[in-house]
Amino acid sequence: MKLSRADLKDLCRGAAFLGTGGGGNPYIGRLMVEQAMDLGHSVEIIDPSEVPDDALVIPTAMMGAPTVLIEKLPRGDEAIKSLQKLEQFIGRKAYATMPIEVGGINSTIPLVVGAHLGLPVVDGDGMGRAFPELQMETFAVYGVPGTPMAISNEYGDCTLIETHNNWMMEWLARGVAIRMGGAAYIAEYVMNGADVKRTAVPNTLSLALKIGKCIREARERHADPMQALIDLLPKTPYSFGKIIFTGKIVDIKRETRAGFAQGRARIQGTDSWQGLMEIEIQNENLIARVDGKVRAIVPDLICVLDNETAEPITTEELRYGQRVAVMAVAVPPIMRTPEALAVFGPKAFGFDHPFTPIEQLG
């Protein structure tokens, strides 16, 4: 599928939705793709089934602080440098690139890389949403090593990382990213087509596109965008979505702990919603409780949306007084296995509550 300019806007809105409050605003990434399109490049998105089993796929991404990215814009070819470094190291050319994270800005970086190099972008990713750390990948869960990994800055300075496990990769890469100014561009989780089909959360780019389009079209015909989303989800790998609360933000607390923005938002119920919802945040929305009772928990998606327009609201944009609807979305089975939950389930974020699918929560 060739991505059009109009598609791109929808895809970015959907990627912000899938970011569950984190992942960074895709605006800068969208402009970079548009620049590439202006130069005559095009973005080709292919289904995982179209990738030959022995073909080489090198995913690309940005890592670091979105707040830095919006000020220190990239040179534009950093992620390309990282991908080429890995090609050189392995001694093979990539057949395609792919996102490691569909939520937020990282849905767009592989589109920029693919457009400039003329490589297709595989429709899928390794997070199915946004997560804060590089080992939180279905690729990792199902046995694809994160390294060799390359990390580059605007000078073309490049660090090649090889580690004994993915946690060490995350640890070293984060340090390099800070030295590179707080935002750097990476290529990692090199794999073949068979691995893609086995370990990726499938069709998440086209899902982002569908979600963005669904919200826009519902607004255009003055229909309820929340209901439109709820109707759409059963037709996707994310089989189920529901509104778990509607209300007004009455309290926001933020602090930095261990380098990550942590916090909690309190929402006072309005309309037919009684009680107080509390959402715990570690860059992304991780757990939502109403009067102490869990209503949705990571890795299922907890999306805070503008109550009128269904525009996704990031955790950094949350403010007192906003009217919001909170939508929970079931993630696909590949993200809910015991192996997956060990890497990015509630325990990985320090919660005692066991993972419970939203379908089973009241």
Binding site: G22, I28, L31, M32, Q35, M63, G64, A65, P66, T67, V68, I70, E71, K72, L73, P74, R75, G76, P132, E154, Y155, R174, I178, G181, G182, K248, V250, R254, E255, T256, A258, G259, F260, A261, Q268, N283, T315, E316, E317, R319, Y320, G321, R323
Partner: protein, 518 residues
């Protein structure tokens, strides 16, 4: 005490108000004139005459204007601008003016230069400022005859040195050129800050002409007091500063209106409902200032990160259509045609104004013409009007506690009952000139918004540093040091970065110290 004048120069009307300290002595609404100046003279003459105050007694003149916003929206009277960015090798992916409407960037000439320089978030240099590249850009500007330059350096809100040095070099090479520096204008967010700086550049010529015409108007009436112009956040800047940074006036209109309402009602924490002919705007006052919106704001199709008052518009006004026996009101309205189409004015459209006249709540037009409206419709329509207003107020409130509601605008007559969301309903006098009053009572402010690296600096130390810097800026802008207060603190830690860094924004304001005119 201190006599001051507030003037609001809008697209349609020029309003003036003359105040003795905090007391309104006289006010006047006059049409805005093409030359701006004669409209101001007319309004000012009227308030002076009515109050009997001598021009020499005036201690300060505060002007609010939408002139510069309108110029950008209308693409008129704009200069071509050299947009210079310091940040290479970073930032190359997205050149200046990347997401602008084609017609506006063409009007400004698309003179874009990217130069090595800029800082990292923690204050390190991305690269040293490449003075050779910069001189080449400046020479190009000189050859093209460009008279305005906008300089934006990466993370200049953290470190402004490179922008200051670049300004020296450009001035040295070109000579006659006005230079806008991004750290004077905006906050973190390179494209948005750069956009605002470029827009500022294109307005500098208009700014000196407008300021000169303000000056001329005051001179003609022999007013020798200093004059100030209100900026986005409701604080004042000197005329000299506006000549350099006109873009900072962009959102002053709605801000002045809300601040004026707050003053008239003598409330610092309140909701303001401005009911017009077609729509109503609701905003919230915190410490006497409008609460600001958190989203990016488009001006003339260009994305900026100015803080605008957070205002909710809803479809209720004095000309709103009443349907379904009063159960449905608006969003369509007869608007300015109310005085011909409304039933009490001889028309045949049932509007909200007809309802309040029929209910005997106000006496406008010919009440006998609405005698046939059924009492049930009147009752239901009044219920709907109050429900809509109550809901809008409740939406914009930030806590469950009821707050005073200040009603301004011509449509304020629609509200006659208590609102559950309101602790009190206030309909102040002089509300039609709330804008001019907002300008007249404006204070002076200072703001800091930057990323603080917390290595070798505790969070409290960083906050203290930000607070004292903001207070210092307020005093430098003309505030009485004893009156300066911190009115807003916001702290957002940098996500996804384990090095402790945090973005802190602090705003301080104080009363303008007005001396005797000598």
């Amino acid at each position: 005490m201190s006599i001051r004048v507030g003037i609001d120069v809008g697209g349609t009307n020029t309003d003036a108000v003359l105040m003795d300290d905090l007391k309104v002595l006289s006010s006047r609404k006059t049409p805005t004139t093409a030359d701006v100046s004669s409209g101001i003279v007319a309004a000012l003459e009227a308030v002076l005459q009515e109050s009997g105050v001598a021009p020499s007694a005036i201690r300060g003149v505060m002007i609010g204007t939408t002139h510069f916003t309108n110029a950008v929206v209308e693409r008129k009277r704009l200069l071509e601008v050299g947009a210079i960015r310091l940040g290479l090798p970073a930032t190359k992916a997205l050149p200046p003016m990347v997401d602008w409407p084609e017609d506006l960037s063409a009007t400004l000439g698309q003179h874009r230069y990217m130069v090595h320089g800029g800082h990292e978030f923690d204050g390190r240099e991305i690269s040293p400022l490449n003075e050779q590249e910069l001189r080449a850009a400046a020479k190009d500007l000189r050859q093209k005859g460009i008279r305005a330059a906008a300089i934006t350096s990466v993370f200049s809100p953290v470190n402004s040195e490179m922008e200051l040095r670049a300004a020296e070099i450009v001035a040295d090479e070109v000579g006659d050129i006005t230079i806008s520096l991004s750290h004077e204008i905006g906050r973190v967010g390179l494209l948005e800050r750069e956009n605002a700086t470029i827009m500022n550049g294109c307005l500098t010529d208009l700014a000196s002409r407008v300021v000169e015409s303000f000056r001329g108007a005051l001179r003609r009436l022999d007013v020798r007091a200093p004059f100030f112009i209100s900026q986005n956040d409701g604080t004042l800047m000197t005329a000299e500063h506006v000549e350099k940074y006109p873009v900072l006036t962009f959102a002053s209109g709605p801000t002045n209106s809300m601040r004026g309402a707050a003053f008239l009602a003598n409330a610092k924490e309140a909701m303001v409902v401005d009911i017009g002919g077609t729509t109503s705007d609701v905003g919230m006052l915190l410490h006497g200032f409008p609460r600001e919106a958190s989203v990016a704001v488009d001006i003339g199709g260009v994305r900026t990160n100015f803080r605008m008052p957070d205002v909710l518009s809803f479809g209720l006004g004095g000309g709103s259509l009443v349907r379904d026996d009063g159960a449905r009101i608006g969003p369509d309205s007869v608007g300015y045609e109310l005085t011909t189409k409304g039933m009490v004015f001889g028309g045949d459209v049932l509007t909200t104004t007809d309802i309040v006249v029929a209910a005997g709540l106000v006496d406008i037009g010919d009440r006998s013409r609405v005698a046939s409206v059924p009492p049930r419709t009147i009752g239901t329509a009044l219920d709907t009007i109050h429900q809509m207003t109550d809901e809008a107020v409740d939406r914009m409130k930030t806590s469950v506690e009821a707050l005073p509601v200040i009603l301004v605008g011509g449509g304020a007559i629609l509200i006659s009952r208590d609102l559950p969301a309101a602790s009190d309903i206030i309909k102040p006098d002089h509300s039609p000139v709330a804008n001019a009053i907002g300008a007249a009572i404006a204070q002076v402010g200072g703001e800091v918004d930057r990323v603080f690296s917390l290595e070798g600096l505790s969070r409290d130390e960083a906050l203290d540093e930000a607070k004292s810097e903001a207070s210092g800026k307020a005093v430098a802008a003309g505030a009485d040091p004893d009156s300066v207060q911190i009115v807003d603190i916001e702290e957002v830690p940098l996500a996804y970065l384990p090095s402790s860094a945090t973005r802190i924004r602090v705003k301080a304001v104080g009363d303008l110290s007005i001396g005797d005119p000598k």
